[in-house]
Symmetry: none
Subunit: 203 residues, 4 copies
């Protein structure tokens, strides 16, 4: 069965859009389990029954939003990194794009985090989709000698961990927009690691 029924009329398309916007906001703000269909309906300005014209059930709406998030984010990163040469530049641009996307779509960002308790398969799939693309790129870069030698899978999870926790701190906890300085700072860690050259050199 399909996650969503594509509307045939313009009126229907607008209704679906309103449902998605409302659902995105509410899932992010209150969480999947604390969001009722009636809440979504009220926020979207429709009757509860109308929700079921477009989605077969609640979880389908969630999965649909989750899919959309991944797709859009990957598209943006791909677009942003299209012109770069080195892996360093790609990483820098990726970080920047991720943070700005998470800031604009804080809803979708928070939806991913809870997915593991709503739909573990969808959650795992989300991260693995990201990792998969990473792994190829990382492998290539390692062959070119650009990147530290290590398991490409863990490599990508480390980078995702950094990205996600920086976003958590900056956007969710502190409610700030990520600045260019922040991106620079974080990227410094990614480039050099945690330890100061001197300390490391002494070893």
């Amino acid at each position: 069965m399909n996650l969503v029924k594509k509307p045939k009329t313009a009126r229907g398309a607008e209704t679906l859009q309103r449902i998605c916007d409302a659902a995105e906001e509410l899932f992010a703000e209150s969480g999947y389990y604390n969001t009722q269909i009636s809440d979504i309906a009220k926020k979207a300005g429709i009757a509860s029954g109308t929700f079921y014209i477009y989605f077969p059930d609640k979880i389908s709406a969630f999965r649909y939003l989750l899919d959309e998030l991944g797709r859009r984010l990957r598209r943006e990163i791909r677009a942003a990194a299209s012109g770069v040469r080195t892996q360093q530049e790609a990483e820098f641009v990726g970080l920047k794009t991720f943070l700005s996307f998470a800031s604009k779509h804080i809803g979708l960002f928070k939806i991913v985090w809870q997915a593991q308790f709503v739909d573990m398969d969808a959650f795992k799939n989300y991260y693995e989709s990201f990792a998969a693309r990473y792994v190829t790129r990382i492998g290539d870069a390692q062959k070119r000698g650009e990147l530290t030698e290590m398991d490409p899978e863990y490599f990508s999870y480390i980078l995702m961990g950094i990205y996600n926790f920086v976003a958590l701190k900056c956007i969710v906890f502190d409610g700030k927009e990520p600045t260019d300085e922040l991106v620079e700072e974080v990227f410094k860690f990614i480039r050099h690691g945690a330890f100061a050259p001197s300390a490391d050199g002494a070893k």
Copy 2:
């Protein structure tokens, strides 16, 4: 007011322990919202009403476990890092301890992740408690020139991000025990960053 009612008899203490064990396992396995009091009661071998002798409601049990997790994990890390000299050693030992703790207490580890949708305050508090301790240590180490200069708060969130996503990949997704080799690999990243010396040397 109180998250938990301390039992007055040995029998009561045992019952409470059984409730905690059952709740920890179920919250982790199925998530907070998919875990019913009746499930906990059945797993603990008690009547449903007995749960409410010790906890005023479901969410209090969750918060109690969350608190306990943080406390135990911090205690173990502190104990493990008590004899070390440098920040590098401390970090290495901390990572190792975290992964082995998460592997033993996968329940508690997964409880933290969902906390933001059960009780955002408790969730934030959890990470901030960790960050707070980190920040001091990091500041000191930076003064000694051991660590890269950067905002200590983001520094700690970066490290927590790495730890958590490595645990996610290894323990949750792959269902493996973290090995010493993994710890070494991840630590390599923390020490040198993402980029190979040669590539970096160009800078």
Copy 3:
């Protein structure tokens, strides 16, 4: 906030009416605490959940009925007493109307009595609403020399006491309809007091 949600369709209006009728009867017959939502639903011929479309909780339904009782009773008494000249006539007609109302709506009458243990504020408010209207009329009549001089507030509570206990004896305990003779008898007391003229003349 609101005690009741006003239905938007005719079907809804009928359902609400059926719920009110059922609740009125059951609250009166078995008391608030011995009446279950499922009893009301069964008697109204609806599913339990439907109750909650119209009332946010059990106590709101009770308060709503209590309000309605007061309003309807006051309206009837006002209507009945609209054409009278003297306070004596007004009082006579008021007593008569009260007893016949209580007899028709024994449910609502009994609901008031228990209100003090369900919702003390609503209970107090009920009697004070009655007393308030009384007090004005009594004050006026006293100025015209029609009524014994005494505190108008206690005056009204005395009259309410007489009305309520006569109704208790006749309707609740003996299960009878109040007759015109009863009204006459009781009114004799109100007119002359307890003591026979001769005995009183001795004073």
Copy 4:
């Protein structure tokens, strides 16, 4: 079965007393259905189980207190009225005693009111016990020409209505002690009725 198990030791007697005091207060303050055995136990400073040493169940404690109330009140009124000659004096003293008793034992007074929804038989029995004694005295007084001729049963309910509602207003609603002036005022009504002599004489 007995309502209460009489204690054999002095320690037991004190415990029973503490239970009764606590129950009286709580039943009055919060109502029968909102009072938990555990509340009574806590207030009495005992364990919940101890309650069941003295009372077979919750309702027995209630009935016991209700019985006690009637007995004590009747005893006090009898004692106070023992020396009087006329029905007028008896009535005056009765009113005074009732109000002062209700003021001291507001708990017991409020317990009676809710009895109809806890135990209708006990409630009816309570008022009928009072009415029964009244009826005899009233009949005699009527034969002596002291009292207005009317059905003695309704006569007694009218008087109880006056007493109870004056107590309700003064003690429960206004939280005041009944004064001698109040007793005088109310008694004026009982003696002369509601209407001023002139107004009545004109008729």
